[in-house]
């Protein structure tokens, strides 16, 4: 699979470059956010998926590109990595964030941090 779908057959003027895989970000936003939702027997918490996609988008939209750039952010992101258990750092960040919010009257950035980290909290 190198392209979203047979663009050559469909005659696109400028299909994605030959051999270039469809961007992972483009695939993720479709398979996770779109597609018809049917409640199967095994329930996946869609809220968690939503949080995950938000998180993915916040950090980097393309794992492909991250790899190209040598970034392994998931290794250091407790909310995303089942391996990383860097609670200390997470707590420090949360404390900083709380201090920030209590100190100034800046509005939160729209995505409360505790919501974002909840999937991993639940997993623990």
């Amino acid at each position: 699979m190198t392209q979203p779908w047979n663009p050559a057959q469909a005659g696109m003027t400028r299909p994605p470059r030959r051999g270039e895989p469809a961007s992972l970000a483009d695939i993720l936003e479709r398979v996770l956010d779109k597609g018809i939702v049917i409640a199967g027997d095994i329930r996946v918490d869609l809220l968690d998926i939503e949080l995950l996609t938000i998180r993915l988008r916040l950090i980097v939209a393309s794992v492909d590109r991250a790899r190209e750039m040598g970034i392994d952010w998931w290794e250091h992101d407790p909310a995303l990595s089942s391996k990383a258990r860097d609670l200390e750092q997470e707590n420090r960040e949360l404390r900083d964030r709380v201090g920030e919010l209590e100190g100034g009257d800046q509005a939160p950035d729209g995505i409360p941090r505790q919501r974002v980290t909840s999937p991993s909290d639940r997993a623990r």
Binding site: M12, T13, P16, D41, I42, I49, L56
Partner: protein, 280 residues
Amino acid sequence: MSPTWVYAVTGDLDFAVPDDLEGIGGARVREVHEGRLLAAASSVDAGAFNEESLQRRLADPGELEAMARAHHHVIGTVAEAGTVLPLRLGTVYREDGGVRAMLAERQPEFAATLGWLAGRAECGVKVWASPAALAGSGRAENRAPGGGGGGGGGGAAYLSRRRDELAARDQASRRTAETAAAIHEELASLAVAGRQHRPQDAPAAGPGSAQARDVMVLNGSYLVPVAGLEEFSAGARAAVAGLAGFRLDVTGPWPPYSFADGPTDGPTDGPTDGPTGGEE
């Protein structure tokens, strides 16, 4: 009994899964028939795909990527053969019987959506704005260094200048949003329907590239007749061609992921924040 992972539904009953088509975990993909519908499905390991372990896998970027690519690959393969209704990643049944019951129950709805999607494909259009377009002026950024020092301005002058800068930036970002909305409207008018995804935050190009700091202002999907894909693509380019500082990328055609919930929304619905609309 192994659980059944479902990828997509189609009404093309002649569709035969290619022998070498691998799904999640490298499993062979097979057809599950019910009435006038067919689902592409495969068996997955019971231990690895119970609720807890599936949730955990979804939280692991490596596993998520592998599952997303496998899921997408199967859907794309079905799409090449006919009209496809993509299912959200992670639709898993305890056994094929559950899949058949689901197909039977939702047959009328699926048939209607498949009819609407027939002969059409999804086109992705991303529009980026350059920092200059976002700031409203190409010079806005070069002015900052040196700040309060020169020019005989005291603190009050500096603050006033700063306030003007912020107001200008505010106005520019509002203008950018309006431009993006107008582009979406125009593209949607060229298509059967349009949907907006949240713009991606990733760098638009590798570091060092002149476009590395461009910001995505529109991330849309448009449902287009397969025969009109080229025309749509040209129309999309034309829509942005006259706008200084804006550029666009067309991706696809994609299987109609963004339109799997049917013609429920108007052609100009707003950006979606995760699962909305068609969820149930």
